[in-house]
């Protein structure tokens, strides 16, 4: 995967919060508009929805002069190298990885269990009216055709850069950027160059598959299968060593066998 892996480098310092990426994504992926209302912020919508695969998160911070400054962050599916959603998905082919390393999905195969919602380290998958999974698919169709995803194509400031993941990272490192997601979860498909701590952007400091999901899938599942066969083996072992508690047939005559 390493060499063929495509990804984004999102250079937050360049972002002007124009949200062209949001609009271009909706256009290419034919996503309906979500009605929203003014909540006293330019951030809109306030969260990812089944019809919104990426969005700009507006973080308001106090600057040194006592004013307000914005941090902009493009929020979306991170296309994790070790993807929690793919770990838990019980329906083969519903979530799958393309040869470019994209975590894509096939709605027809989604069985609406919503395990991916619980397993995502970034709380990304959404379920809409059709009760099927919905998230950024990194325009897998465009990428397969050799094109850049709609958001990267539309971005006027080159905040969203698309290409070979390793090349993008090498370039950002050469420019002495602070990277997020280079190695976490076997490398995120979306690597950020941040201007501050990840927490300032609402990103986890150390992204990981939730502990309970890890215990469920990587500990209990294998041990449970072992335990099942172990208990069957133990019973067979008991049968051939100690053996059953047989009834002594000759005692039965004393108990009165004759029918009245």
């Amino acid at each position: 995967m390493a060499d063929a892996r495509k990804g984004f480098l999102i250079d937050t310092a360049r972002c002007i919060g124009c949200r062209s990426c949001q609009v271009a994504c909706k256009q290419w992926n034919k996503l309906a508009a979500d009605p929203t209302k003014n909540q006293g912020t330019f951030e809109n919508p306030r969260d990812l929805t089944p019809n919104l695969f990426n969005r700009i998160r507006f973080v308001e911070q106090a600057d040194d002069a006592g004013g307000v400054k914005w941090l902009f962050m493009n929020e979306r599916c991170m296309h994790c190298g070790d993807a929690g959603c793919m770990k838990v998905c019980p329906s083969p082919g519903a979530l799958y990885r393309t040869k470019e390393g994209i975590v894509a999905y096939n709605r027809d195969k989604c069985i609406s269990c919503k395990y991916c919602v619980s397993a995502c380290p970034f709380n990304v998958p959404r379920y809409g009216a059709d009760d099927r999974v919905s998230k950024c698919n990194l325009c897998a169709d465009r990428v397969a055709g050799g094109m850049a995803p709609a958001c990267a194509k539309a971005c006027p400031t080159q905040t969203i850069q698309f290409g070979n993941r390793s090349e993008l990272i090498a370039r950002a490192r050469a420019a002495k950027k602070t990277l997020f997601g280079e190695n976490d979860l076997m490398g995120l498909g979306v690597v950020y160059a941040l201007e501050g701590k990840p927490e300032a952007y609402g990103l986890p400091e150390k992204p990981a598959i939730p502990m309970s999901i890890f215990l469920w899938k990587d500990v209990i599942k294998p041990l449970g299968i072992l335990g099942f066969w172990g208990s069957i083996g133990a019973m067979l072992f008991h049968y051939v060593t100690v053996g059953p508690k047989k009834l002594e047939e000759e005692n039965e005559t004393k108990g009165g066998t004759t029918h009245e």
Binding site: P210, W216, Y239
Partner: protein, 201 residues
């Protein structure tokens, strides 16, 4: 005098096998959800989405019937006396071929503990099942924890059920008929549950 004494009433037997049927449906429909290794089990139900539907219906039926079964013997299986302590100390005589005699009532302590376990497991599986049923209506941490507890309790329930089936069939010949026809042989009752036998003799 008949060779047989009544062990379980018709109502008890029907309820027991109803719980069993719901349990088996739950296991078969849930295996594909437990791991992709068992995806093939979805085919019994016509695909994963249908398996989830069956799992939900069987889950409600199991929850109700299993709790009913537990509470219809709740006092018996949660009360342990001095004879039970002796049985526990001697591991019920299951670890040796030597003939062991214990003064058991209708249920021995092993059966009581199995009954308590299934009662608790029913509550745990049912409660976590609600959160897993509608994960978007509950906090993420609660659903994540529920998936863990649901999986763990399922594994324990299956393992204890393997032991239950062994002990009620080939491990103790003559036991199964009590749950099939309702009657057991007197010699069986005297050997396994003497205190109970004296009550019903």
């Amino acid at each position: 005098m008949s060779n047989y004494v009544e062990r379980f009433s018709t109502r008890e037997r029907v309820l027991h096998w109803f719980v069993t049927a719901a349990f088996i449906t739950l296991v078969l429909s849930g295996l594909g959800l437990y791991s992709r290794l068992f995806t093939g089990y979805f085919d019994f139900f016509g695909g994963g989405a249908n398996a989830i539907l069956f799992h939900k219906i069987a889950g409600v039926l199991f929850f109700a019937s299993s709790l009913l079964l537990f509470f219809s013997h709740g006092k018996e299986v949660t009360t342990f006396d001095e004879d039970d302590r002796e049985w526990l100390a001697g591991r019920g005589g299951y670890l040796s071929r030597d003939e062991a005699h214990f003064n058991c009532g209708k249920f021995n302590p092993g059966q009581k503990m199995f009954g308590i376990f299934i009662g608790v497991a029913t509550l745990a599986l049912g409660l976590t099942g609600i959160f897993i049923w509608a994960p978007l209506a509950f906090p993420r941490w609660l659903v994540q924890l529920s998936l863990l507890v649901h999986g763990l309790t399922f594994v324990l329930a299956v393992m204890f059920t393997v032991i239950h089936v062994y002990l009620a069939t080939i491990g103790n010949p003559g036991t199964l008929e009590g749950m099939l026809y309702g009657y057991v042989r007197r010699i069986w009752a005297r050997k396994h549950h003497p205190k109970w036998y004296r009550e019903v003799e």
